[in-house]
């Protein structure tokens, strides 16, 4: 039996978590800020990840345009306890990842690119 889109998205997120140690939470969000698929621990509120991830990406895109920085590639926010990475998946979706500070950023970016290529095919 063919997998549903939801199952396929979950599988991509599971693989991402498996390939990148130190991922704490990951979600696919619509540009409206609504969660499409996620793997989040209980302490992380899904609707807030969706709303904030989409808002941060949208403000960043707008800032990039207004300040002549060209098309935005990714948003990386560094905090005391780790990073928040946000990237577009095509025109209508976004990947949001919360990772701890011990992550290898090169590995994170590489896997993120691979994951987005897969998600583009599914969505």
């Amino acid at each position: 039996m063919a997998q549903t889109i939801s199952d396929q998205l979950d599988q991509v997120l599971i693989n991402f978590e498996r390939n990148v140690p130190h991922v704490e939470a990951i979600a696919i969000v619509s540009t409206d800020g609504l969660v499409i698929a996620s793997r989040l621990p209980d302490k992380v509120e899904e609707d807030r990840v969706g709303a904030m991830g989409a808002a941060i990406l949208s403000i960043s895109k707008r800032s990039g345009e207004e300040l002549s920085r060209g098309e935005m590639c990714k948003v990386l926010i560094e905090g005391e306890n780790g990073y928040l990475l946000i990237r577009s998946i095509g025109e209508f979706a976004i990947l949001v990842a919360l990772v701890d500070k011990n992550v290898r950023l090169g590995m994170l970016f590489y896997e993120c690119k691979r994951c987005i290529a897969q998600l583009n095919e599914i969505l």
Partner: protein, 168 residues
Amino acid sequence: MDDIKTTIINRDLNPYHSFLASFFAGLAELGMINQGSINIVSRRAAEYLYSYLDAKDILPDMSAVPGDSTAEVVKNLILYINKIISLMGGYDLQELDEGQVVLLVAADKCRICPKGVGGAEVKGTLCPIPSFIENLVNKIAGTELIDLVTPGIEKEGTTCKAYFQIKS
């Protein structure tokens, strides 16, 4: 400007509607808000409005709210909320199968739409009504009467639809 005048007259807006809808629209155009964040802040607004109704001593007595079924009680609570805050110029609540109800809002009569009233030029929906109604109805009832099924509004032609599950 003519479009704005027509909107104000046709939708019978008061200054607060105009302010709120255009304020939300501006934030949306800057990329600062989206349907997800509107859902979150609408919950907060519902909590605040409940406190307002309480402070003014105009909360309805739930034992006096008419209705033979939960759906009818919900319908009367929405009628009461809309009388107070007058968000929707035209709407209906219809019962569906499997304990669901749908709130049908006449898009050209809505008074709070950041797109239709505020003129927000953004993709997607930006509707504060479903989450606000869900939370204020439940808060007034003192129990979970309804649960929002779709996280936002679905627009079909000139009607915006929000689906709720009636809780037994």
